[in-house]
C-alpha cells in the first residue's frame, strides 16, 4: 500500500478530505497540526517596547493510507483541492510505499 502525505493550509482540511472521498472513494485520514516555513513573511509583534516577528504559518499534515492503485488519483485529488488561490502557502503532497499495513482492531494485514 501507499502512504500519501500532504501539507495544506488549515482552512482546506475539510475540502481536501471531501475531494479525496468523492473522487477516489477512499475513506480514512489522520490529521496533524503543523506549522510551516516557506517564502512568506510573518507579522510584526510588539510587547512593552520590543518588536519582533515570527516566521512560521499554521498548516496541517494529512496522512492517507491508500491502496497502491489509488495513490496517484489521491495525490491528484489533493493537489487540486488544496489550492486556495493565495499567492503562496498551499503546500506539497507526496507518497511513499509502505509495508506491513495492519488494521489494529481486526489484526488483518493488508496486502503490501
Amino acid at each position: 500500500m501507499r502512504k500519501v502525505e500532504t501539507v495544506v493550509i488549515r482552512e482546506r482540511i475539510e475540502i481536501v478530505i471531501d475531494a479525496v472521498e468523492e473522487e477516489t472513494g477512499h475513506v480514512g485520514v489522520t490529521v496533524i497540526e503543523a506549522v510551516g516555513h516557506g517564502r512568506q513573511r510573518g507579522v510584526t509583534h510588539e510587547y512593552r517596547g520590543r518588536v519582533f516577528e515570527s516566521r512560521f504559518l499554521p498548516k496541517a499534515l494529512l496522512i492517507f493510507v491508500v491502496d497502491d492503485d489509488r495513490a496517484d488519483a489521491v495525490v491528484r485529488a489533493i493537489a487540486a483541492a488544496a489550492v486556495s488561490g493565495n499567492e503562496s502557502g498551499d503546500g506539497l503532497v507526496w507518497s511513499t510505499p509502505i509495508e506491513n499495513v495492519t488494521h489494529n482492531r481486526t489484526g488483518r494485514r493488508e496486502a503490501t
Partner: protein, 466 residues
C-alpha cells in the same frame, strides 16, 4: 454634628459604595464579552473596557455630568461643566442641587459609572471587527448623546421626567440606548467574516471561554446591586432603608431570568445552553432596572421570566435577520430594556409609585393605559433620537475613513494587529521559556536541567530593531 450631617454621611456612603459596585461592572462586561468572543481577540475585547471607561470618565467630568444633571432646560443641562472643587464638595448646591443629600462628587461618581455601562454595551454588538480609533471618536460622541437622554429622563427639568416616565435605574437610559448604538454599529459594520455561509445560513462562532462569561455575569449581577438600589441616591428615598427592597426585587428578577433562560433554551433548542442562561439573567437585570423601585415581587418574577423568553428568541431572531451581534447585546439590553420600561406601565404598584412620587400605578392595578402610554412614548422618543444620532455618526465615520478593520486584520485578530500582542501569547508564538519550548508543551513532561544553562535565542522569532 447635626442629624443632617449624619444623613449626608450615610447617604454618601451608600451612593459611593453603590457607584463602586457599578464601576466593577466594567470587569463584568470585559469578561462576558471576552468569554463570548474568540481567543484571537481576547486581549482587545477585555482591554477596550478599560480604555472606554477611561475616556468616558474624563469626558463625563468635563461636560457629560453638566449636560445630564447640571441645571438647565427640558433638553439638556447648561451648567456644571468642568466642575470645580467647590462645586464638587458642596451638598445640595447649584449647579448640582439635584443631589440633595450627597456632595456633587458623589453624584458624578454614581452617574459616570452608568455612562460607562451604556458605553460598554455599545461595543458588545460591534465586537471583533471595529477599528480602535472608532472607540475614541464614537466613545466621545456617545458620551454626549447619552448624557442628553439621561437629562430627559432623570433630571427634574427633563421633558420625559416631567411627563412622569418611570425608569428607576435606566432600562431605557442606559441599556436600551447602549443597545441602539450597538445595533447601529452592527448594521454598518456588517457580520464577521465566516458568520454567514454562502447560502446565508448562520454559522455558530462560539465564544472561547464560558467560565469567563459566567464570571462576567456574576460580576454584573453583583454590580447590579449598586445599579438599582443605589439609584435612590440617598438612604431615605421611598423611606429609610427602602433601597433594600429594590435589591430584593433585582435579585428575584435576575434569578427568574436565569432559570427561565436555561429552561426555554432547553425546550426550544434541545440543550440548556449556558450562554442563554447567562443572557436570561442579564436580560432580567436589564428589564428590572426600570421597574425595580416600582413593582411587587410577583411582578419581578413575571418580568424576569419574560426576559428569559426574550433572551432566547431575541438572540435567534437578530441572527435570523442577518445581524451579527456576538454577545447578544441587542436582545439582552435592547429588547429587554424596552420590556422593562413598558413593564412599569403594566405593573407599577400603587404604594411604590406613590412613595417614590414618580408616575402612576400600572395597568394591572387599574391605572389604565396612562402610565403605559408615557412609557411607550419614552421608548419611542429615545429610540428615534439614540438610533438616528448613533447611526448618523457611525455612517459618516464609515463613509469617510471606514470603521471596519481590513479582512486580514479581522482574520488574524485584533490583538496582534491592533495592539501588537496576542491575548494568550504562549498559544500563538514561542515565548522564551514558555509553552511550546523545551521542557514544555501539551502532553509534554519535563526537560533537562542543562537546557537552562544556555538559553536559546527567542525561538522561532527574530528580533527587529525598534
Amino acid at each position: 454634628m447635626t442629624k443632617h450631617d449624619l444623613l449626608i454621611a450615610a447617604s454618601t456612603i451608600w451612593v459611593v459604595v453603590t457607584a463602586v459596585l457599578v464601576m466593577f461592572m466594567q470587569a463584568g462586561f470585559a469578561f462576558l464579552e471576552a468569554g463570548l468572543t474568540r481567543m484571537k481577540n481576547a486581549g482587545h475585547i477585555a482591554g477596550k473596557n478599560v480604555l472606554i471607561f477611561g475616556l468616558c470618565s474624563v469626558l463625563y467630568w468635563a461636560v457629560g455630568f453638566g449636560i445630564a444633571f447640571g441645571d438647565g432646560g427640558w433638553f439638556s443641562g447648561t451648567a456644571g461643566f468642568f466642575p470645580s472643587v467647590n462645586e464638587l464638595i458642596s451638598v445640595g448646591q447649584k449647579p448640582f442641587d439635584f443631589f440633595a443629600e450627597v456632595p456633587g462628587a458623589a453624584g458624578y461618581l454614581f452617574e459616570v459609572v452608568f455612562a460607562g455601562v451604556s458605553l460598554a454595551i455599545v461595543w458588545g454588538a460591534m465586537a471583533e471587527r471595529a477599528k480602535l480609533w472608532v472607540y475614541f471618536v464614537f466613545g466621545t460622541y456617545f458620551t454626549i448623546t447619552y448624557s442628553i437622554v439621561s437629562h430627559w429622563v432623570w433630571s427634574p427639568h427633563g421633558w420625559l421626567f416631567s411627563l412622569g416616565m418611570q425608569d428607576f435605574a435606566g432600562s431605557t437610559v442606559v441599556h436600551y440606548q447602549g443597545a441602539l448604538a450597538g445595533l447601529a454599529g452592527a448594521l454598518i459594520l456588517g457580520p464577521r467574516i465566516g458568520k454567514f455561509g454562502h447560502d446565508g445560513r448562520a454559522n455558530p462562532i462560539p465564544g472561547h471561554n464560558i467560565p469567563f462569561a459566567v464570571l462576567g455575569t456574576l460580576i454584573l449581577w453583583f454590580g447590579w446591586f449598586g445599579f438599582n438600589p443605589g439609584s435612590t441616591l440617598g438612604v431615605d428615598l421611598g423611606g429609610f432603608g427602602y433601597f433594600a427592597y429594590v435589591a430584593l426585587i433585582t435579585n428575584v428578577a435576575a434569578a427568574t431570568g436565569a432559570v427561565a433562560g436555561m429552561l426555554i433554551a432547553w425546550l426550544k433548542l434541545g440543550k440548556p445552553d449556558i450562554s442563554m442562561m447567562l443572557n436570561g439573567a442579564l436580560g432580567a437585570l436589564v428589564a428590572i432596572t426600570a421597574a425595580s423601585g416600582f413593582v411587587a415581587p410577583w411582578a419581578a418574577i413575571v418580568i424576569g421570566a419574560g426576559s428569559g423568553v426574550i433572551a432566547v428568541f431575541g438572540v435567534i431572531f437578530v441572527e435570523r435577520i442577518g445581524i451579527d451581534d456576538p454577545i447578544g447585546a441587542v436582545a439582552v439590553h435592547g429588547m429587554s430594556g424596552v420590556w422593562g420600561t413598558l413593564a412599569c406601565g403594566l405593573f407599577a404598584a400603587p404604594v411604590l409609585a406613590h412613595n417614590l412620587a414618580t408616575g402612576h400605578k400600572g395597568l394591572v392595578y387599574g391605572g389604565g393605559f396612562h402610565q403605559l402610554g408615557i412609557q411607550a412614548l419614552g421608548v419611542v422618543a429615545v429610540g428615534i433620537f439614540s438610533f438616528s444620532t448613533s447611526y448618523g455618526c457611525l455612517w459618516v465615520l464609515n463613509r469617510v475613513w471606514g470603521i471596519r478593520v481590513e479582512p486580514t486584520v479581522e482574520t488574524q485578530g485584533l490583538d496582534v494587529h491592533e495592539h501588537g500582542m496576542w491575548g494568550y501569547p504562549e498559544f500563538y508564538i514561542p515565548v522564551p521559556g514558555g509553552y511550546g519550548t523545551e521542557s514544555h508543551g501539551h502532553m509534554g513532561g519535563l526537560g533537562h536541567a542543562h537546557a537552562a544553562a544556555k538559553p536559546a535565542p527567542v525561538a522561532i522569532s527574530k528580533e527587529v530593531t525598534v
